[in-house]
Amino acid sequence: MEQTVTQKSIKNPAPKGPDSFHLGIPFKLQDKINVWVLRTLAFAIITMLATLIVLLFKQSGEAVKEFGLWNFISTDNWNPVEDEFGGLSFLYGTTVSSLLALAIAAPVSVAIALFLNEMLPAWLGKILGLFVEMIAAIPSIVFGLWGIYYLAPFVKNTLTPMLKGSLGFLPLFQGPSFGIGMLTASLILAIMIVPTITSICREVFKTIPGHQKEAALALGATRYEMIKLAILSPSFSGIMGGVVLGFGRALGETMAVAMVIGNSTTISSSLLAPASTMASVIANEYAEADSDLHVAALCLVGIFLFVITLIINFAARSIVWHFNRKHAR
């Protein structure tokens, strides 16, 4: 009975009138057209992305031919005037600045997530949590501007004497400070990735059932012991996911870093010295690159950046995904 009714309504064109969407096409065909339009669109997006990646590789082909992949990442000789290019210093700059930023931001982010979730009353935690999340919305150019005019003088006049006074014997803190350099860039990056890690950590901590915390407290645990036993150890992998995601964000960050890192293409063991990252060198030189080889070399740097962030992002996502699946059960 039901079937006949639906089939009838599909086969017979609906009466003409207020239903202007009917167009005299059977409903089944309309749905088919709709699905195929969406499929074409999906296919177009995928093709577009694939084409872009292929073009990116093609664009860098000249540099690969000229220097060889391995040679390119193992030399730090970057000289646009002589058309000689090696990307090691940028690889080094990106890795060191991001790792340093992560070393500063990760413990602080976990701590502030705990502070917001466990120590503050819920309403105050919500306000401050929103406030922390707002940092993620501030454009990176504003961070860069603040970095040049506030953070760089602060690093030069206050932080450097302090570090030299206490840890000056380390090779990390040798040489003069110009304010702009690896350390300043790492500090800016650390501020920028805190909201990423914090929001993931807060989500992860929220998945822990209340009775687990109550059980720890009921056994006489102090708040610290409760946090250690009931919150931190079960959510370890989730925290790691957030940290790796923050790392991916730090790797790709461009403008703020380009403005405060000093853009020197030499590798220096001192954190006070200026340096360069993969993103910052592209931002600084791409528009002015006039030889084809220079553009190709910058594209090759871009490919490295692309591949590295891709791997890091998917690693982070799979960690978080595994965590969620484990806890959904």
């Binding site: 309504s9 990116l56 701590a111 502070f115 501030i138 150019i141 102090t222 946090i227 692309f306 891709l310």
Partner: protein, 300 residues
């Protein structure tokens, strides 16, 4: 024996206190720089704004005065191009992911591609747009900037649409289908309008993100110092203009960079907070009424 336990208990108590102290210190360490950035931008930025800033074009190098009218309009123009391209495509792709072919290879690859686009550093997006449009047209142009921004907007809109449509309970779709309405109509005229608020919020968040992007515009729209509405010519934008002024040696340009940063932050945070407020309107109302109750009970 008794003394030992007391000591141990004291030690545990001390550890607890110390840990909580560390948490508070961490919170201060995070909140201080944020407050500094906001305070610095607002004080310096608001102080360097005047009417000229909004209505005038830049003066020649070395002359004091002039403004960023071209950059403010340029940003709006570029974001409009980006949104015009990416928002319809993004919503369609989100609908496709949420409603059709859930286990098929095509939707899995599309999902992967969207993930990939979300993670791409914005500077790489700039290179994409450069290869796609600047190289064939042999000049920096506004279209390339718009396309770069659209690549940034697209994955955010797609994900937002998909996530929100997944929240719509299946019985709504079934009710529509049971009435004999074709599936596309159920989706486009019942499911999507029903979650319009959420999709709108996703779109606005994506736009606010694109408005603040500098890196993809550096070598696509490039920037200029005069008013231009031509899509095949370089076009100024607020972030790029701030960047160029910030690294310049002229004090008046640096002042204007702060003014620009202030305007940019107002635009970006304004869009962001408003759209968040729209999606959380009920929660917001509850929150304030609870706050009011709390304050009243404290007074009494």
């Amino acid at each position: 024996m008794m003394i030992e336990t007391t000591n141990y208990y004291r030690w545990r108590k001390f550890k607890n206190r110390f840990f909580q102290f560390l948490l508070i210190m961490a919170a201060i360490a995070v909140l201080t720089p944020i407050l500094l950035i906001v305070q610095y931008t607002f004080v310096k930025g608001a102080g360097s704004l005047n009417l000229d800033f909004f209505t005038n074009l830049p003066k020649p190098v070395g002359e004091v005065g002039g403004g960023m009218r071209h950059a403010i309009l340029g940003t709006l123009y570029l974001v409009a191009i980006g949104a015009a391209i990416a928002v319809p495509i993004g919503i369609m792709a989100g609908i496709y992911l949420a409603e059709f072919d859930k286990k098929s290879a095509l939707s899995r690859i599309l999902s992967f591609a969207i993930d990939l686009l979300t993670g791409v550093p914005s500077i790489i997006v700039g290179i994409f747009a450069y290869i796609l449009l600047v190289v064939p047209m042999k000049s920096f142009n506004a279209m390339a900037g718009g396309v770069a921004l659209s690549i940034i907007i697209l994955p955010i809109v797609t994900r937002a649409t998909e996530e929100i449509l997944k929240l719509v309970p299946d019985h709504i779709r079934e009710a529509g289908l049971a009435l004999g309405i074709p599936r596309w109509k159920v989706i486009f005229m019942i499911v999507v309008p029903g979650s319009f608020k959420g999709i709108f919020t996703g779109v606005m968040l994506a736009i606010s993100r694109a408005a603040g992007e500098t890196a993809p515009l550096l070598f696509t729209a490039f920037g200029n110092m005069y008013m231009s509405y031509r899509i095949d010519q370089p076009m100024a934008s607020l972030p790029v203009q701030i960047y160029n002024y910030a690294i310049s040696p002229f004090e008046d340009w640096q002042r204007q960079a702060w003014g620009g940063a202030f305007v940019l932050i107002i635009i970006v945070l304004g869009i962001n907070l408003t759209s968040r407020a729209i999606i959380n309107r009920n929660e917001l109302i509850n929150f304030f009424s609870e706050l009011k109750k709390k304050l009243n009970s404290k007074k009494a």
